[in-house]
Amino acid sequence: MGNKVYPDAKSALEGFTFDGMSVMSGGFGLCGIPENLIIALRDSNVKGITVISNNAGVDGWGLGLLLETKQIKKMISSYVGENKEFARQYLSGELELEFNPQGTLAERCRAGGAGIAGFYTKTGVGTLVAEGKETKVFNGETFVLETGLVADLSIVKAWKGDKEGNLIFRKTARNFNPMMATAGKKCVAEVEILVETGELDPDAIHTPGIYVDRIVQGTFEKRIEQRTVTKRENA
């Protein structure tokens, strides 16, 4: 059994990156993003990346870091509204963009990882998203054909992992990470807590280790986009 544990994000990406590659990056907004692997990807200087991620980070953090260095050629996302540099590059024609409805994006990743080439969904029928795509009527309703997605590499973030690559996510930081872990030809996971194999409850594992090629423990900033609070009443 080979060793999956790497000492840092940089070494965990070695040999897995090349110009023109596609990368799936987990997270929703800045929640549950692989912070350290994104920085390591930036530092690898790989160019012309197609990034598949629900969002595009913010200026100066998350995938915004890869936009600053112009390493991203194309984004496949559902919502990119939090990033000025993204808008600038897109409007100037430097950056390609493919919008997928969020559920279609999630399902494309799930399908890709499961060896399913395509699926029919009602989402997007009659909209720009369905233009040029095959449609089919099932039980009197029209569905559009969407394809499964795979990437050369997926980078995901989990809360706990073991040396076997088994992963457990925490709260809404799970989001796209489990599907993307299955849909990368290679998958590197970063975790807050790395434990010995056998220490995780097998019934509680969200992503089985078969999907994870390499695992690395990191520290995380966990930036918050919208800090909304309830004021305590004065007692």
Binding site: C31, T123, M179
Partner: protein, 215 residues
């Protein structure tokens, strides 16, 4: 006189039924959670992977791993469950969510909805809106009746790229409430006027044809 944002949210909250699983969009729809009627308990779904969304946290409870689809910090409830994005959209696309309340730029009298892009402007993306309108059992739109320049947003035909066709069941604007028979042939029906709004005013400000059910 027309309904304020909070009155709109309050009117939309009357569409909630006890036991409903509900997804609320960003903006006025979010305010609906403040007006859940007495005796009605609903479970709020957040499409980033949570069922049973609680209120905003106290300052010392903030958890970066716990946000809603608007990226706002929130809290969990006793009944809360967490899941992946694909499980979340299985709920949405599989027809398991009872009600979605969301905003719109344009709606037509056949229930077509446009709320995600204006050509020529930077487009932020549709997020989960196309999935929600395609999959949720009942779709309620809450919006201003007219745009800033006074043009009707209730149209015969949407001019903006649509989010879905034949998807809207009810439109609540600051001037009144309209029912739409999205899969049938019944015309759009005016069922309520906002306080102080006359039939003449709402007729003048509505491009789409409708019948008056106010009697």
């Amino acid at each position: 006189m027309a309904w304020t944002r909070d009155q709109l949210a309050q009117r939309a909250a009357k569409e909630l039924r006890d036991g409903f699983y509900v997804n609320l969009g960003i903006g006025i729809p979010t305010l609906v959670a403040n007006y859940i009627p007495d005796g009605v308990e609903v479970t709020l779904q957040s499409e980033n992977g949570m069922l049973g969304m609680g209120p905003f946290p106290y300052e010392d409870e903030i958890d970066a791993d716990l946000i809603n689809a608007g990226k706002q910090t929130i809290t969990a409830l006793k009944k809360t469950s967490y899941f992946s994005s694909s499980d979340s959209f299985a709920m949405i696309r599989g027809g398991h969510i009872d009600l979605s309340i969301l905003g719109a730029m344009e709606v037509n009298d056949r229930g077509d909805l446009a709320n995600w892009m204006v050509p020529g402007k930077m487009v932020k993306g549709m997020g989960g809106a196309m999935d929600l309108v395609a999959g949720v059992k009942r779709v309620v739109v809450v919006m201003e009746h007219t745009s800033k320049d006074g043009a009707s947003k209730l149209l015969k035909k949407c001019t903006l790229p649509v989010t879905g066709i034949n998807v809207v069941d009810l439109v609540i604007t600051d001037l009144g409430v309209f029912e739409i028979d999205k899969h049938g042939s019944k015309p759009m029906t005016l069922t309520q006027l906002a306080d102080g709004v006359t039939l003449e005013e709402i007729t003048a400000k509505t491009e789409a044809a409708f019948v008056n059910a106010l009697g």
